[in-house]
Amino acid sequence: MTHSSTHPTSESESIPPARSYLAGLEAESIEIIREAVALADKPVMMYSIGKDSSVMLHLARKAFWPAPPPFPLLHIDTTWKFREMIAFRDRIAAESGIKLIVHTNHARLAEGVSPFTYDSERYTTMMKTEALKQALDREGFDIIMGGARRDEEKSRAKERIFSFRSAGHRWDPKMQRPELWNLYNARIHPGETIRVFPLSNWTEADVWHYIAEENIPVVPLYFAAPRPVVKRSGQWIMVDDDRFPLDPGETPEMRVVRFRTLGCYPLTAAVESSAATVSEIIQETQTARTSERCGRLIDFDQVASMERKKLEGYF
């Protein structure tokens, strides 16, 4: 591994994780994934196409090597993902040979629900949370792995690694099961489910260091490139296709930007950056003054936004 020698570390930067540190995180995540599968009747892994999903999938393949992971991947497709994300998803699914289930809330789509017809809160509820519940109910998955990390958001910092969901997929943060040591209680009644977060103890920097170390492919949108963007509420939004309603006379301008997280393109702001390689991203992450999810418009549409979405069943 060479990432630590490609750029200097100054006193003010956080240290690049030592090999043993990343190995420890990797071992813990593999242990969690194996527990989830061993304790499940019908496990599934959420695949959102982002860097965290890429790392989680990589860990799952390691956990069961030389066998393929004994569960399918599930992608909730709002139909508003970046085109490059969908191309990447299909390539990874084909290469890994793992079954990919794609679910879209077609009923809402037919009603004309889009990021432009509804506010982000209601759009997210219908196209992501509602769609997720539909897919989970239809397939009857009992243990659902997701790539959320505790450092992302303050209500996620409170979440267990094995997180109980009552029938209806609701999270009750005040009634979480005590979770001591590495002992996970996955006992449930019919209709109840468990969400499992193998990357709970990873940080954004850890994810990038691991991607560098393991040479894990990620969607090119993470790397800086000239892209067509327009300004909305002070944030750069990429015009990924001709469904984007431009203002009269408005034309997108080309700017060198990249994305720190990936979601629906009209709701995911780009950052101006010249980081075009993983090691440049790592360097940028270490000096960043804003948090990773600040480009996710859906995090800020109400007070305690993420906690409310999670109560209703969002990841």
Binding site: T9, E11, S12, E13, S14, I15, P17, A18, Y21, A23, G24, E26, A27, I30, E31, R34, E35, V37, A38, R61, K62, A63, F64, W65, P66, A67, P68, R150, D151, E153, K154, S155, R156, A157, K158, P173, K174, Q176, R177, P178, E179, L180, W181, N182, L183, N185, R187, I188, H189, S200, N201, T203, R289, T290, S291, C294, V303, A304, E307, R308
Partner: protein, 621 residues
């Protein structure tokens, strides 16, 4: 030295734990600009610091916590300095959330115990020190906070430390560092200050950066609990797990516990590559030289010094539930990757968390800590908690609600499976009862039709079953349709019906079961004959005393109406006699009491009845 330190903060409510962590995150530049502006908004909305930033809001992530300015659940935060990385668990101070505090302590290597200088040591200070010590945290830092409110008075600081020192000595922490701080202003958190010239020790952060928490030379040999058997094809059979202790290399002799088979490690597989060796903390897949029987829950261990095996333990247990942990009750038991059923055979005592003294106890309530004896339904591989946290810790799960109701640490095995030899013995009622950890008994319900017998009997069986009892219910539904299909409702048939039911109940009691009989059984004489077929205290007559008017009012099957119309003959209470018992063991008034209350009364009487019986069957020897 370790590159990562996992620590926790604890202490009484309002001593400033969350503010202290907020300060650490703030000073180590882990707070981003957008989080800062959110903090500014939140501080105005929920803050307790007037116009100033309330740093506690950086960690109190739940809406309820921010509204009440308290910490309810443990939060995990991450920060790093050029010296070290930190995973910190911020745990609640309220006694009612002690279980969440214990969750944080179970994986911590060091505890920062926060004390409010203005208030001094609190009950929770002692309680938390004992809990972290019990959970195996060996390093303690005492942050005497709010020193600014105490005028940075050295005497106050020294007195708190002096008062606390005996507990530190008693609990045997490997290191103890008291530090005066002001989380609000930041003094001695990350940088020295001029506030307390008399203090020459380290700042909190430098203490956390420098402390060596690696355990002494660990002499435990290789052990790996098997999580998953990987068998993608005929050619590959690997055992997946995370190494709990020691080191293993290709060619090592290993033993499977339980089972005792010995074989050799053929290869250690990870990703696209094989490794020559692996050590504690690694997640690996091991292939063995010979085909042996290994399943999830087994331990692969060094052949020269394998893991221990037992089915009887003494353990410290923390009760995590509003439902008491009770002697005689059984629970699902999770120990590393092994799942079994454990029965608490005795609560030996409860620990007074303030004084450390032992209190006599029969049950453990929410947040109580006690020492119990456990009997497992089969021998399980383990190490004591002191030797290995991963192989000596377990949780207890309620069989009905699936809630995690207890967390425990194995102190020692009460007997070793290696010493268990089959002895020639007659399999009789006493032996069968002992195997089931219960005393067999016949609970005989009598009462009019629609009096509530079946409702109460069903509920009773559910409660007994949940408590781990082995039960069976005999009622009209499962007897009249089969065994007594040939019988009608004439007086002679009723007598024969009860005679057969009595004999079946007697056989089931002989098999060691708790038998519930739910029949109208209208005649006193037949019930007395039934009683005579059992040993004293083995037969409890339960009279469901519901007046006929009330039964007729309920009439769920419309039988009374039918009988009144004459469409049903020989109906008890209408044209056939019911003789109420003179002195039943239990009389239930279903007009006054709910079914739940009736069941409570029966269970209470049952406990009482069991307590009178000579010792023997209950406690396994």
């Amino acid at each position: 030295m370790r590159d990562t330190l996992r620590f926790m903060t604890c202490g009484s409510v309002d001593d400033g734990k969350s503010t202290l962590i907020g300060r650490l995150l703030w000073e180590s530049k882990q707070v981003f600009e957008d989080q800062l502006s959110a903090l500014a908004t939140d501080s105005t909305r929920y803050g307790t610091q007037g116009e100033a930033m309330d740093l506690a809001l950086l960690v109190d992530g739940l809406q309820a916590e921010r509204e009440q300015s308290i910490t309810i659940d443990v939060a995990y935060r991450f920060f790093a300095t050029p010296r070290r990385r930190f995973v910190v668990a911020d745990t609640p101070g309220h006694e009612q959330y002690t279980r969440n505090m214990a969750t944080g302590a179970s994986t911590a290597e060091l505890a920062v115990l926060v004390v409010n200088a203005a208030k001094g040591l609190q009950t929770q200070t002692h309680r938390h020190a004992r809990i972290v010590a019990m959970l195996g945290v060996r390093h303690l830092v005492m942050a005497v906070n709010k020193m600014d409110l105490a005028g940075w008075d050295q005497a106050i600081f020294s007195q708190i430390v002096q008062e606390f020192q005996p507990l530190v000595d008693a609990l045997g922490f490997e290191s103890f560092q008291p530090i005066p701080v002001s989380a609000l202003n930041g003094d001695y958190v990350t940088a020295h200050s001029s506030a307390a010239p008399w203090y020459t020790g380290p700042t909190l952060l430098s203490c956390l950066e420098e402390i060596d928490v690696s355990r002494g030379a660990e002499d435990l040999e290789f052990r790996m609990p098997v999580q998953w058997v990987n068998r993608p094809s005929q050619d590959f059979r690997g055992y997946c797990g995370r190494v709990a202790s020691g080191r293993v290399k290709v060619g090592d002799r290993v033993r499977i516990v339980p089972g005792g088979m010995e074989t050799t490690v053929r290869s250690i597989v990870t990703w696209h590559e094989e490794r020559p060796a692996a050590s504690a903390g690694d997640s690996i897949t091991i292939c063995l030289d010979s085909e042996v029987d290994v399943t999830r829950g087994n331990i692969l261990a060094s052949a020269s010094d394998p893991a221990e095996l037992s089915d009887q333990f003494e353990a410290r247990v923390l009760c995590l539930s509003e439902h008491n942990l009770v002697a005689g009750r059984s629970y699902l038991f999770q120990l590393h990757t092994c799942q079994a059923v454990a029965t608490i055979t005795a609560v030996k005592y409860q620990v007074d968390v303030r004084l450390g003294t032992h209190l006599a106890a029969r049950t453990l309530g929410l947040n109580d800590i006690g020492v119990v004896n456990l009997s497992i339904d089969r021998p399980v591989p383990f190490e004591t908690y002191n030797r290995c946290r991963r192989l000596g810790s377990f949780i207890l799960v309620d069989r009905l609600t699936n809630q995690t109701v207890g967390a425990g640490m194995i102190d020692f095995a009460l007997r070793r499976a290696a010493n268990i030899h089959w002895q020639a013995m007659d399999v009789n009622k006493a032996v069968r009862a002992r195997q089931k950890l219960q005393r067999p008994v016949c609970l005989w319900f009598t009462g009019l039709s629609a009096s509530g017998k079946s409702t109460i009997a069903n509920l009773l069986e559910k409660r007994l079953f949940a408590a781990g009892r082995h039960t069976y219910t005999l009622d009209g539904d499962n007897v009249r349709h089969g065994l007594n299909r040939d019988l009608g409702f004439s007086e002679a048939d009723r007598v024969e019906n009860i005679r057969r039911v009595t004999e079946v109940a007697r056989l089931l009691v002989d098999a060691g079961l708790v038998v519930i009989v739910s029949f109208i059984s209208p005649y006193r004489a037949e019930r007395e004959i039934a009683r005579s077929r059992f040993e004293p205290r083995e037969f409890l007559e339960i009279f469901v005393d519901t007046p006929i008017a009330e039964c007729e009012r309920r009439d769920p099957k419309g039988l009374y109406a039918k009988a009144r119309r004459g469409a049903l003959t020989n109906f008890t209470g209408i044209d056939s006699a019911y003789e109420p018992p003179d002195s039943p063991e239990i009389r239930l008034d279903t007009v006054v009491c709910t079914a739940e209350e009736c069941v409570d009364r029966i269970l209470f009487a049952l406990d009482d009845n069991q307590a009178h019986k000579s010792a023997g069957a209950w406690e396994p020897s």
